[in-house]
């Protein structure tokens, strides 16, 4: 059976998982170190590929007062590291239908009134494992620059780490999601090439050809589709 392996001859190091000390080889991710020590990980794991945001973690390093954050599936253990998963961070989420909101710009302040209360501490930006300038995105949203939000937050994995730090009790990633959706659904014009094609499909332009293909024998179909 396939197994994730540490390199042969890897150095053994001490780490603290949920406050308990363990010895693990260097070269494992935080999640792999948990497996290595026999932990079953179900909450706090999703894609294992750095995109789903299920595996948010906090850690400290010896002799350093700072609290670090990371995605546990993408971060390697280091000597002396003490870490815990934050599998779920409670978050407030607004209820809306993006297609029928009367005024998406105003809607932001009705749905997320706290979005105007940023105190500029920048903790959200510092914590973001994706390197997003979260603080700027919050201001862009508040000033109605939804296009700016869309550009600056595209790589957000919705891990919620920014929420854990915000002194204004915001959920910056939810605000960003709202702004991106409003931009895509309500500000950007519907793409012409798509509209054109949808109309053509609805008016039956391709029905005859598709119908014809479906009545061909397998040999005929192969002939017809075989040529590039």
């Amino acid at each position: 059976m396939f197994q994730y392996e540490a390199p042969e001859g890897a150095r053994l190091i001490q780490v603290w998982i949920n406050g308990k000390e363990w010895t693990v080889p260097e070269g494992l991710t935080l999640i792999q170190a948990m497996w290595y020590t026999g932990h079953e990980v179900i909450h706090g794991i999703g894609c294992l590929g750095g995109v789903c945001g299920a595996c948010a973690a906090v850690y400290r390093m010896p002799g350093n007062f700072r609290l670090f954050n990371a995605l546990a599936c993408q971060t390697l253990v280091k000597e002396g590291m003490a870490f815990s998963l934050i599998a779920s961070y409670p978050t407030q989420r607004a209820h809306y239908d993006i297609e029928t909101l009367p005024d998406p710009k105003e809607g932001l302040f009705e749905l997320y009134p706290e979005s105007a209360t940023c105190r500029n501490c920048n903790a959200c930006t510092e914590v973001c494992p994706q390197g997003i300038d979260v603080r700027t995105s919050v201001w862009q949203a508040a000033f109605g620059d939804f296009k700016g939000v869309a550009e600056s937050t595209m790589s957000c994995v919705m891990c919620g780490l920014c929420v854990s730090r915000c002194i204004a009790e915001m959920a910056p990633h939810e605000i960003a999601l709202y702004a991106r959706r409003a931009y895509g659904s309500r500000e950007l014009p519907f793409p012409e090439n798509l509209r054109h094609r949808i109309d053509a499909v609805h008016s039956g332009s391709f029905d005859r050809d598709l119908e014809r293909l479906s009545h061909l024998s397998l040999e005929e179909l192969k002939q017809e589709c075989g040529v590039k």
Binding site: Y4, G46, R93, M154, M158, V201
Partner: protein, 535 residues
């Protein structure tokens, strides 16, 4: 001591063009080295609707397996179900989420049960994009032809026809929900070229296509009123009158309790099988991709198709070992990346089809021309530096920022160093046999997404599976909810696990006294056990 790495002694890379492959060599190469065509690690199924089919050992093991519920379960059926719904959807990836939103809108009472959180799936990981025929020179008909040819003429024409025809409409739905696909300067959707297609037809959201879609759909799903049970994988389907499906048993992973669901329609959307590590390959798939839907439906008598056919993506990371299986997109070879064996020689035209490139890499490694990794595997070099040399300094960083970022986190600077790759188990081509309405051979049981089989035949082209997930998610979600209201009422007393007992009796006959695995697998186990050392 720092362990030695494959970067300690890089060979000199010889840029000489690799030799072209003629059709006969191609066939020989595939037959000898592509896992699907090889005869090792294969078993013939002895029990169930596909008895006689030859499939990989790992697939045979989960299909011919015992129930997780253990013995003596038949008297355990509770007096009442825990919940009764019109439509039970099993699996919260792209297909399940789409089905749930549409079914709920159509008025059905819907329960969506999923293994991890909603959206933790293969769908969220999709990078490349979705095929939809929008170009002036393109049409759904052309899309059909490319997909049919790409599937080596083994796809189901009817399923394909629906896929290409309903494609544009469902993309429109995603856009109205606020999904931000890349646009060209005129505001049209940008169309890129994907492997095996004759037209520019791939739409994407940078290299975050799946993530962007899941973020949006998840928010609407959570707001939709659909009942959602997370961390509640299905472990068995329930049988109703006349061999129909009547619901499922879910297991709450936090307290181990079983939840009995009575449903007029059941839609399986449990996705793929990468985490079974067929042939011991690493995988690009999410943690929950263990083929559970195949196991449960097979026990109930559903027929499967093309279960011998899988897609091994040629360029998965093999070193550093903690990244094993992670995908390096095909686009890097499109941009001019080259591959070298341990002797620094190119060994296959880099723009050959996925299966040929994968087979060639396996050949190099099996014949001793692979690069050994410290954990004892082999791979070949995928060198991106030629991209910068050909197209100008900084091209790699600009076009593939995500790869540069992820590799960088693991101390590989792929703008100056090659990446070590080996094929990774990526996609299940086959699955539960369906018609254009998502019907299986079992009344009341519907299937959508990667767990289904037929539409792509024995090979899927990049971008067609995401399209399938949304087209069929909507379609089957609506049909399953409509047909649930037309279904003849049945009582809880008619519900049983008779199919499981019968299946296990057949197993006992065929494999007397043999210890068999239990399935569905639910979660792969990478923990270090006394008999399973990791270091």
């Amino acid at each position: 001591m720092t362990p030695s790495t494959p970067y300690d002694h890089l060979p000199e890379f010889d840029p000489t063009e690799p030799v072209k492959i003629d059709p006969l060599d191609r066939k020989n190469l595939l037959d000898r080295y592509y896992p699907d065509y090889r005869t090792d690690h294969k078993s013939t199924l002895m029990v169930g609707p596909n008895a006689g089919d030859i499939v990989p050992d790992e697939i045979a093991e989960i299909l011919q397996s015992r129930s997780l519920l253990g013995k003596g379960r038949s008297n355990e059926i509770p007096a009442q179900p825990d919940i009764e719904v019109d439509l039970l959807i099993i699996g919260g990836g792209g297909a399940g989420m789409t089905a749930a939103i549409f079914a709920q809108e159509s008025g059905a009472r819907v329960l969506l049960a999923t293994k991890l959180r909603v959206g933790d799936s293969n769908t969220v990981m999709a990078e490349g994009g979705i095929q939809v025929a929008l170009g002036e020179d393109d049409s759904p008909v052309q899309h059909f032809k490319d997909a049919y040819r790409g599937g080596h003429f083994t796809g189901d024409p009817e399923l394909l026809s629906v896929l290409v025809k309903e494609g544009p409409d469902i993309i429109g739905w995603l856009i109205r929900k606020g999904v931000l696909f890349d646009r060209d300067p005129t505001g049209n959707l940008s169309l890129r070229k994907g492997g095996g297609t004759t037209r520019h037809r791939l739409i994407s959201a940078k290299d975050y296509t799946g993530l962007e879609i899941i973020r949006v759909l998840k928010e609407d799903l959570l707001n939709s009123g659909v009942t959602i049970w997370e961390f509640s994988p299905a472990v068995e389907l329930l049988q109703g009158p006349e061999g129909s499906c009547a619901g499922a048993i879910l297991r709450d992973v936090d307290n181990g309790s079983l939840k009995w669901v009575k449903a007029k329609s059941v839609l399986l959307a449990t996705g793929g099988t990468g985490r079974l590590h067929i042939g011991s390959f690493a995988t690009s798939n999410h943690f929950g991709a263990t083929g559970d839907g195949l196991v449960m439906s097979y026990r109930l008598g559903a027929r499967l198709v093309n279960m011998e056919s899988f897609q091994y993506h040629p360029t998965g990371v093999i070193y550093p070992s903690e990244m094993a299986g992670m995908l390096i997109t095909e686009a890097v070879r499109g941009a001019g990346a080259r591959m070298f064996n341990a002797h620094g020689k190119r060994f296959v035209p880099e723009l050959e089809t996925r299966d040929v490139v994968a087979a060639a890499i396996i050949r190099e490694c099996e014949e001793g021309r692979g690069v050994r990794t410290p954990s004892g595997h082999s791979g070949v070099y995928l060198d991106l530096t030629s991209i910068d040399r050909d197209m100008g300094e900084g091209t790699v960083a600009r076009r593939f920022p995500n790869i540069v970022k992820l590799m960088g986190k693991h101390q590989v600077d792929c703008t100056v160093q090659p990446i070590l790759v080996y094929p990774t188990l990526h996609y299940q081509n086959g699955g539960v046999s369906v018609d254009v309405s998502g019907h299986t051979s079992i009344p009341g049981l519907y299937v959508a997404g990667e767990v289904s089989g037929g539409v792509h035949g024995k090979n899927r082209l990049m971008g067609n599976s995401l399209l399938e997930v949304f087209v069929y998610g909507r379609r089957v979600g609506l049909i399953a909810s409509q047909e649930s209201s037309a279904r003849k009422p049945f009582s809880w007393h008619e519900v049983s696990l008779g199919h499981v007992s019968r299946f296990e009796a057949d197993l006992e006959k065929e494999f007397p006294g043999t210890p068999l695995s239990e399935a569905p697998v639910l979660f792969p186990d990478y923990r270090k056990h006394p008999d399973n050392t990791m270091a």
